[in-house]
Symmetry: C2
Subunit: 408 residues, 2 copies
C-alpha cells in the first residue's frame, strides 16, 4: 500500500517515541520473562482444549462465556481452590477477577486507587512495569529498603511515620513477598506479620504481587500475606505467565467486592479471552502439581547452570544471592560498571539483559545491577551467553579481570 | 473472608458508580452482541487447537509467541489474505496489529490521535462503546446524518466546512460503512467514494469499523473504503467477535506503520492472548468460507423470525429497515415511547434490549429507538420475547394498540 497521507500533525500531544520494528530474539536472551519452551505441557493442553471445547465450546458465542464480567466460572473455581490449597486463604470465586495477565490487574488497582499527586510505597528494587504504571498515573513512588528477607518492616515504618507527619496517607504498599522481582528474596512469616502490622497501623493497603510464588523450589511456601491474621487490607495478585505461559495472558486479582465492583466499572476490555481460561482451568484442575513440579525441575537446572557460569566467568566480580526459585537472578557487578552502558555493546554481541536502573525506584542506585532471566535459553546457551557477557564487560569496563581462570 | 477494612476513603476521585453483581442472562436476551451458540464450529476449533498446539505450542513459553508485538504471524498472514480476498486491499502483515477485540483497537486509535478538546465526527447513531471512549478521551463528538446509504457525504461536507471556518481540523471521522451499527445500512460504492473525497479534501482521517462486514448476506460485498483509490488516510478496523466469537477477544487494525508504531509505544497489554490467535488462524485459513456461509444462514433465519414477530406484534407501530446482514435490528416506535423508560419494566418481564439513546451522539434524538440483537435467542424465544415486549410497551405507553390481531 502506498502511504501518501502524513498523520504526524494529528498525533496527540505527549506521546512517547514510536516503537522500533521488531527484529527477532537475540541469540543469548536473558531479557524479560520468557520461559522454557520444553516446559509447555503441549499434549496436556491439547487434551484440555479438546475437553473444554467439547463440554462448553458453544458458550463462546456469548461475551464472558455467559458467566459474567469477573471471568470464567471454572477458572475462578480453580483459582479459589489453588489459593486455598497452596496460598492459605479461601476466597469465594466472586472475590476473584480474571485479567489478561497481571499487568492489567495492577493497572486496574492503580486506576481505582491512585490520583495524580498521590503517594505509593514500593520496594527499592521492583517490577519495572508496576513502577512505570504507578508513575503514569501521576503517583509519587517512595522506595522502601530491601534486605535478605525482602521488604524491611523497620524502614517501612519509618517511611509511613514520616508520611503521616507530613499529612500524607499513601494509597498502597506494593510488595512482591515470595521470590521478589528482581532480587528473588522470600519473605519469612515473621516479616510478613510485621509488614501487615505496620501497614494496618497506618491504614495503608498492601498490594501483594505473587506472580512467582508457584515456582519456589528449595523451601516450603510461606503462606501469602492475604492468608494471615489481620490481612483484610491486602489485595492479592497472581498470574499464569511465569508458571505456565506469558503469552496466554492470564492473571487475576483476589480482593473484596468493594474493590472489584469499582474495577469492573472502569474496565474497558469486555473480558479476558475465554479460550485460555477454559483450557487452562481444565488443565490445571488435573495437573497443577505435576506441571509445576516438572517445570521447577527444569528451571532449577538452568539456575544451576547460570550460577556456575557466573562463578566461572565473573569470579569475585559477580555478587548475587542464589535464587531459591523463579526465573531471575539479580546480579551486582563492580562499581565501575554502568549496566545501562553495558546493554548496547552486549546486545551487539547477541546478549540481552535488563539493566538494573529500570527495576529501581531510584534508577541510578542500581547502575551496577542487572537482571538475568534464565528460564528461556538452554543450558549451553546460558553458559555461552555468560562468557560473552563477561568478555564484553571486560572490554567495556575492565572487569572481570580474569575469567574461566584465564587472564583477559 | 471477613472484610473489616474500608477502602472507600482511598478510592481515586471521579470513579463511576461501582458495578452491580451479575445475575445471569435475561430470558429474552436481545442485548449486546451475543451470537448463536449453534454457530460455534466446536469440532473445527478442536481440530485447529490440536493442530496449532502440536505445531507450535512450545512458543507459548515466550511473550508474543516469539513473533513480536504486532501479534501472531500466522494470524496476521490470515488477516492479510482475508483483506486481499474479501475486502479488496492488500496490506503487509506488518501493517496489521492484532488486538484483544475491536474495542481495544478503537481505544488505541483514539489514544494516539485525540487530545482533550479535540473534535471528532461520528455517525448520528453509532456504536456506544466508541462514543463513550471518544468522550472519555475528552473529545467533542459531532454527529453526522445517516440516510439509507449510511453516512451522508453532503452533511459531512457541511460539518467539515463549518469546522474549518471555526479553525478546527477534526481528528477523525468514525464510520461503520458495511452493516452500520445500529441501523444496518450498507454504504454503496459511490457514497464511499464521496466520503473519501470530502474527508481527504479536509485532511481528516477516516476510521472505518468493519466489524460486521463478514455477515452481509443479501448482496455482494462492496469493497472496504481502504481498498479504494485515494484511501491512504483510512484506518481499517475489524473483529472476530461478530462472525466467530465475542469472548475470544480478537480484533485488528490495518494501518500504516507510522500509526502502528505509535500504538505499540503506548500499548500496555503485553500482547493479545496467543491461544485464540493460534487456533483461529489455523481454523480460518481452511474454513473461513464454509463457516461464514453456515453462520449467515442461521442468522438470516433468526432475522426473518424477528421481522415476522415485529410485524405481527407491533404492526404499524414498528418502523424499521430489514437488516441485510449482521446481528442487529434498529427499531423505531411511536413518538409516545421513551425506550429508556421501557427498559426496566421490560427487563422485569425478562426482555432485555439496548435503548436507542445509548447509541446516539445526541441521546434524546433516539428516545423512541431501540436496538435488538437477534443472534443469540432461538427463533421461538425471539417470537415470545417480541410478544412480551409488545405487551409491556402497550401497558406502559399505550402502543401498539393491537397486536397479533388482538386488541390489547
Amino acid at each position: 500500500m502506498s502511504n501518501a497521507f502524513d498523520f504526524q500533525a494529528l498525533f496527540a500531544k505527549g506521546l512517547p517515541a514510536p516503537a522500533a520494528r521488531w527484529n527477532g530474539f537475540p541469540k543469548y536472551n536473558f531479557v524479560g520473562g520468557h520461559n522454557d519452551p520444553d516446559g509447555i505441557p503441549v499434549e496436556g493442553l491439547i487434551a484440555s482444549a479438546t475437553n473444554a471445547l467439547r463440554r462448553r465450546g458453544q458458550t463462546l458465542a456469548t461475551y464472558n462465556l455467559d458467566g459474567g464480567p469477573l471471568g470464567d466460572r471454572e477458572m475462578r473455581e480453580f483459582l479459589a481452590w489453588k489459593m486455598k490449597t497452596y496460598r492459605g486463604f479461601d476466597p469465594s470465586p466472586d472475590e476473584i477477577l480474571v485479567t489478561p495477565g497481571s499487568n492489567p490487574a495492577l493497572l486496574l488497582i492503580f486506576d481505582v486507587l491512585i490520583n495524580r499527586g498521590d503517594t505509593v510505597i514500593a520496594e527499592e528494587f521492583t517490577y519495572s512495569g508496576a513502577l512505570g504504571r504507578m508513575r503514569a498515573r501521576g503517583a509519587t513512588v517512595v522506595g522502601a529498603r530491601l534486605d535478605d528477607q525482602g521488604l524491611s518492616a523497620d524502614h517501612l515504618e519509618e517511611l509511613l511515620a514520616a508520611q503521616k507527619k507530613a499529612g500524607v496517607r499513601p494509597k498502597l504498599i506494593y510488595t512482591i513477598p515470595t521470590i521478589q522481582n528482581p532480587t528473588s528474596t522470600v519473605m519469612p512469616v515473621a516479616r510478613r506479620r510485621a509488614i501487615l502490622d505496620v501497614s494496618r497501623k497506618y491504614g495503608v493497603p498492601v498490594l501483594e504481587d505473587e506472580c512467582y510464588a508457584d515456582l519456589l523450589w528449595e523451601q516450603k511456601w510461606p503462606p501469602s500475606m492475604r492468608a494471615m491474621e489481620g490481612s483484610e487490607h491486602v489485595i492479592h495478585v497472581g498470574s499464569f505467565s511465569k508458571y505456565l505461559s506469558p503469552s496466554l495472558r492470564l492473571g487475576y486479582i483476589a480482593a473484596p467486592w468493594q474493590l472489584l465492583s469499582q474495577m469492573l466499572a472502569i474496565k474497558y476490555d469486555s473480558g479476558t479471552s475465554a479460550l485460555p481460561q477454559m483450557v487452562v482451568a481444565d488443565f490445571m484442575k488435573a495437573h497443577y502439581d505435576d506441571h509445576v513440579a516438572a517445570l521447577k525441575g527444569r528451571l532449577k537446572k538452568k539456575r544451576d547452570a547460570l550460577v556456575e557460569a557466573l562463578h566461572e566467568q565473573f569470579g569475585a566480580s559477580a555478587e548475587f544471592a542464589v535464587p531459591p526459585g523463579g526465573i531471575y537472578l539479580w546480579l551486582r557487578l563492580p562499581e565501575a560498571v554502568d549496566t545501562r552502558k553495558l546493554a548496547a555493546p552486549a546486545l551487539a554481541e547477541g546478549v540481552a539483559f535488563n539493566p538494573g536502573p529500570e527495576w529501581a525506584v531510584d534508577g541510578p542506585s542500581a547502575s551496577r545491577y542487572l537482571r538475568l532471566c534464565y528460564a528461556y535459553p538452554d543450558e549451553a546457551t546460558i553458559r555461552d551467553g555468560v562468557a560473552k557477557l563477561a568478555e564484553v564487560c571486560h572490554r567495556e569496563f575492565g572487569v572481570p579481570v580474569r575469567s574461566a581462570n584465564v587472564a583477559r
